[in-house]
């Protein structure tokens, strides 16, 4: 009975305050969409890290024809220099950091290059001589890159040592910056949402002050009086959170899944299923924000 009564009170409250409720829904929708976007960016970064970090290597490029690096004074790397490097890589001091390594000759490099840029006219203007030979090293711990770099960059016949991770790190830092911006926008929008929920509850409490006054007098408990107002805010916020969740799922499904993955088939994009873990977080966040802000408002504007 009491539950039915509370539900009917919520219904009448939502109807009476419809425009305010709609604005609460929209504001929570927008703010939580930004929160979710930040979450999706982080998921995407993790996804790419997991995918690429297994594949990225440290590359020791050997001197080519026109190399100008200090170690290349003798011109193109000789087979002896190449053998020295191989021995050094197999020595225990270095081998402990390395899983394995391959040698990529100029011809191998040319083959890979052709595969990678098969659609591009640049392939026709490149010859195997222009591409440097290299050792490709898979690290046990990619963080130990510095050791390899220090050991090899001063060796004769080595042009440069490159950690492919650093290329990715630059991309990730851009993505991190984007998610930070999303979080900041979300923060501002959440402040808006909290204030708007507080105002809505205040209006709602004011428009029903006759009822609440009588409820107080006849001895209704605090819960029966306050719960309809709190739930009103929570319901509006949860609807907003559900809309935000739907939007994120749609972005993952249609934009990333159908459009972006065709444009960049090599990039591992997050799947729509992965965004599902964001949904309970968004709904929980929306409900908590609404609950707290309406309780604080009621404490001031609805004496029990």
């Amino acid at each position: 009975m009491r539950l039915a009564f509370i539900l009917s009170e919520i219904g009448s409250g939502l109807r009476r305050n419809l425009s305010m409720v709609v604005s609460v829904i929209l504001v929570t929708f927008v703010s939580l969409t930004f929160v979710g976007a930040a979450g999706m960016l982080q998921l995407q970064i993790n996804q790419m890290k997991g995918y690429w970090y297994d594949k990225v290597q440290v590359a020791i490029f050997l001197c080519g024809e026109g190399s100008t690096a200090a170690g290349c004074a003798t011109g193109s790397a000789t087979p002896e220099q190449q053998e020295n490097l191989r021995t050094l890589l197999e020595s225990p001091a270095v081998a402990q950091y390395i899983n394995d390594f391959q040698f990529e000759s100029k011809d191998d490099a040319y083959k890979h290059f052709k595969e990678q840029f098969s659609n591009s006219p640049i392939v026709d203007s490149v010859t195997p001589d222009q591409l440097p030979a290299s050792f490709r090293i898979n690290m046990k711990d990619p963080e130990k890159y510095q050791i390899i770099s220090e050991t090899f960059s001063s060796q004769p016949g080595v042009e440069t040592v490159i950690d492919q991770r650093q290329v990715l790190e630059r991309l990730f830092s851009v993505m991190n910056a984007a998610s930070l911006v999303a979080v900041i926008i979300a923060g501002v929008m959440i402040v808006c949402a909290i204030l708007l929920i507080a105002t809505t509850i205040r209006l709602s409490a004011f428009s029903r002050r006759r009822e609440t006054g009588i409820m107080r007098l006849v001895g209704a408990s605090k819960i029966v009086i306050q719960l309809p107002f709190v739930l009103e805010g929570v319901i509006a916020a949860v609807i907003g959170a559900a809309l935000a969740s739907g939007t994120l799922w749609a972005v993952a499904h249609f934009f990333l899944g159908e459009y972006m993955s065709k444009q960049y088939p090599d990039t591992p994009f997050i799947s729509p299923a992965q965004t599902l873990i964001l949904i309970p977080a968004l709904i929980g966040l929306g409900a908590t924000l609404a609950g707290i802000s309406s309780l604080l408002t009621l404490r001031r504007y609805l004496r029990v």
């Binding site: 009564f5 009822e211 007098l217 006849v218």
Partner: protein
Amino acid sequence: MIRFENVTKVYDQTTRPALDSVNLEIDRGEFAFLVGASGSGKSTFLRLVLKEDRATSGAVYVAGQNVANISSWRVPRLRRGIGVVFQDFRLLPQKNVFANVAFAMQVIGKSRSIIRDTVPEVLKTVGLEGKEHRMPHELSGGEQQRVAIARAVVNRPGILLADEPTGNLDPTTSMGIMGVLDKINQNGTTVVMATHDDDIVNEMRKRVVELRNGVVIRDEARALYTSMIPVVGQSRRLKDASGRPDNPEEDPGDGSFPSQTGEAL
């Protein structure tokens, strides 16, 4: 049932207390009038019984319990034992008579079947049989007040507080309301009624507690309103044939409550 021990209530340190060392006991089943000019402390008395306000000093006992010791989450239980009726009825305009009375039962979680049984019974007690489906604006003032009384007593409280229940009603209708209150009192409910209405007090011949400036100046059983105190507001409107002089000096509180006087006029 209600006991005040040396109760003082100060709203504002700069003005005189609203109640000043009041000692008073109202027994179970008693009918007591609280009389006095506006601002004499009648409403404060009622508010302290309901624990709407906290006494500045002294103790207020309701049904044997010191209200100061009732924790805030148990205040609703205290209020379930007290019915309240106001001068302005305070009905819910969008609910019909039945729903207005049922509201008081719904919010404390009474079951639908109990509500269906009890509400018509109470409406019969207050003389509103057959008007269950009228809306408040379709009723006369007296009928609206009967609905308010029905709502106040539907949960069978031990105490009924009435704050000038006849203030907006003409003398004949007022007597009808008094009949209802008397009937409720005879069923065992303690009734405390704050009023300016000397006709009613004189007619009923019940206990009269008179307050002036927050002090009990008279407490008599089966008493009259007594015409010693000049009364302004609606009582003068009803009694102006007697042509009593208006003496503002004896009624200093009146000016500070313009709304109450204004409503009456």
